[in-house]
């Protein structure tokens, strides 16, 4: 699954909890509770709708103007990369 030049890492499991999306990295034996905006983005990405629709819907749901939303998305994804939840495509 590819999105914005990234893909999800292997051996991840997720669930919708009241506090947000919980992701378990089974390989590295870690779990993360995603924050509100992160949870929204996670669910949009998992549903595999196209990039444009993700940007549009994410912008509406978290009330950030469309011209600023890409920066927000990339900053979230960068945070996930640091946690090992996503990997950059092609290295």
């Amino acid at each position: 699954m590819e999105f914005f030049g990234y893909s999800f890492s292997k051996n991840l499991y997720w669930v919708n909890n009241k506090e947000g999306v919980v992701v378990v990295d089974d390989q590295h034996q870690r779990s993360y509770v995603l924050e509100s905006a992160e949870s929204v983005l996670w669910r949009l990405l998992i549903n595999q709708i196209d990039a444009e629709a993700i940007v549009r819907q994410f912008s509406i749901i978290i009330s950030v103007p469309e011209d600023q939303i890409m920066g927000k998305i990339l900053s979230i994804i960068e945070g996930w990369k640091k946690k090992g939840l996503v990997e950059r495509m092609n290295g």
């Binding site: 699954m1 893909s7 999800f8 292997k10 051996n11 991840l12 499991y13 997720w14 669930v15 919708n16 909890n17 009241k18 506090e19 919980v22 992701v23 378990v24 990295d25 089974d26 034996q29 870690r30 779990s31 509770v33 998992i46």
Partner: protein
């Protein structure tokens, strides 16, 4: 404490069986097997080295092991306390062995809702008559509406120990055994509170097994249970299973995911610790979406339920293995 799975065959056919992955009848690729006497001796030495003093014999049906009396003698020679989990359909040889042992040396937990045949029921009756107060009744809740009346009556009629070891039918991850659904827990909790009045009147104590959660009991039901001497515990502290094929399991419920081939370089306690580390990330959640924010869980009064149920809620991402 450690579980020795000395037999992978069983003469009962319980829908809720936690050990079904290891039962001969249900997995064609696994052949009928009993743990050899040499293997048992080896594990006994290992348990001695690890300082484990309690050994529980399980199966399948552990008493079907052809050398069952010798196993008991062997474990006793290691000064260990033995607990036997059985369906009570015992041969004369096994009955004689168990008649000679006192309850302080060996506990016998008899699965009272094992699915056995009519002629087996008669054999079990003989067991109850002859072992009497050596027997602790085990009961697994498979339906949220249940009664302990018949069990109470049996305890009185056969002078069994005035204890019921109460379990919940929990799912084996990736398998299809009959199990309670999390939505049924509150009804089962309420029913248990009602039933506890009857057992309490007869001086029978109910001891819960794993998988119980705090919110399955309303405040009112919880007070009733407390009054009736029900010691609620909610924890997931597995007693590892040592199987006939040399596999070590976290527990039966997670037998399809967390197992290790026995490694001589690690002691039993180290293997258990490794399992606990591997399962730790899942323990932050619970069987309900609300568990992560639940005050009972935050305060450590509830574990969030059976890990198998918790893990079943999760979805794999991309190339993850299906849970």
């Amino acid at each position: 404490m450690a579980n020795l799975i000395v037999s992978n065959i069983c003469n009962a056919n319980c829908d809720f069986c936690f050990a079904s992955s290891f039962l001969h009848k249900k997995m064609n690729q696994i052949t009928q097997r009993f743990m050899s006497f040499e293997e048992i001796q080896f594990y006994m030495n290992l348990l001695d080295q690890s300082g484990v003093h309690d050994v529980r014999l399980l199966g399948g049906e552990p008493t079907l092991h052809p050398n069952f009396p010798e196993i008991i003698t062997n474990i006793r020679s290691h000064q260990k306390h033995i607990t036997i989990f059985t369906n009570g359909v015992l041969s004369e040889k096994v009955l004689q062995t168990l008649e000679d042992i006192t309850p302080d040396v060996c506990s016998i937990i008899l699965n009272m809702n094992a699915k056995i045949l009519q002629d087996q029921i008669q054999i079990r009756e003989k067991t109850l008559i002859r072992l009497g107060n050596k027997v602790i009744s085990g009961y697994t809740i498979t339906n949220p509406i249940f009664t302990l009346d018949f069990l109470t009556q049996m305890i009185m009629d056969y002078s069994l120990q005035r204890v019921i070891r109460l379990g919940l039918a929990l799912p084996i991850l990736k398998k299809q055994n009959a199990a309670l659904h999390p939505k049924q827990f509150p009804a089962a909790g309420h029913c248990l509170a009602e039933q506890s009045a009857i057992t309490f009147q007869k001086g029978i104590r109910i001891e819960p097994d794993c998988g119980f959660i705090r919110c399955m009991f309303s405040e009112n039901d919880f007070s009733i249970l407390k009054e009736h001497n029900f010691h609620y515990v909610s924890c997931c502290s597995p007693v590892i299973d040592i199987c006939t094929d040399g596999q070590i399991l976290h527990c039966f419920a997670l037998s399809e995911k967390y197992y290790e081939k026995f490694d001589q370089s690690m002691g039993i306690l180290e293997i258990r610790k490794k399992f606990l580390e591997r399962t730790k990330p899942w323990r932050f959640s619970g069987i309900y979406p609300e568990c992560g924010t639940c005050s009972y869980k935050i305060r450590g009064e509830c574990s969030g339920g059976c890990l198998s149920m918790i893990m079943s809620r999760f979805n794999p991402v991309g190339v993850s293995e299906n849970l």
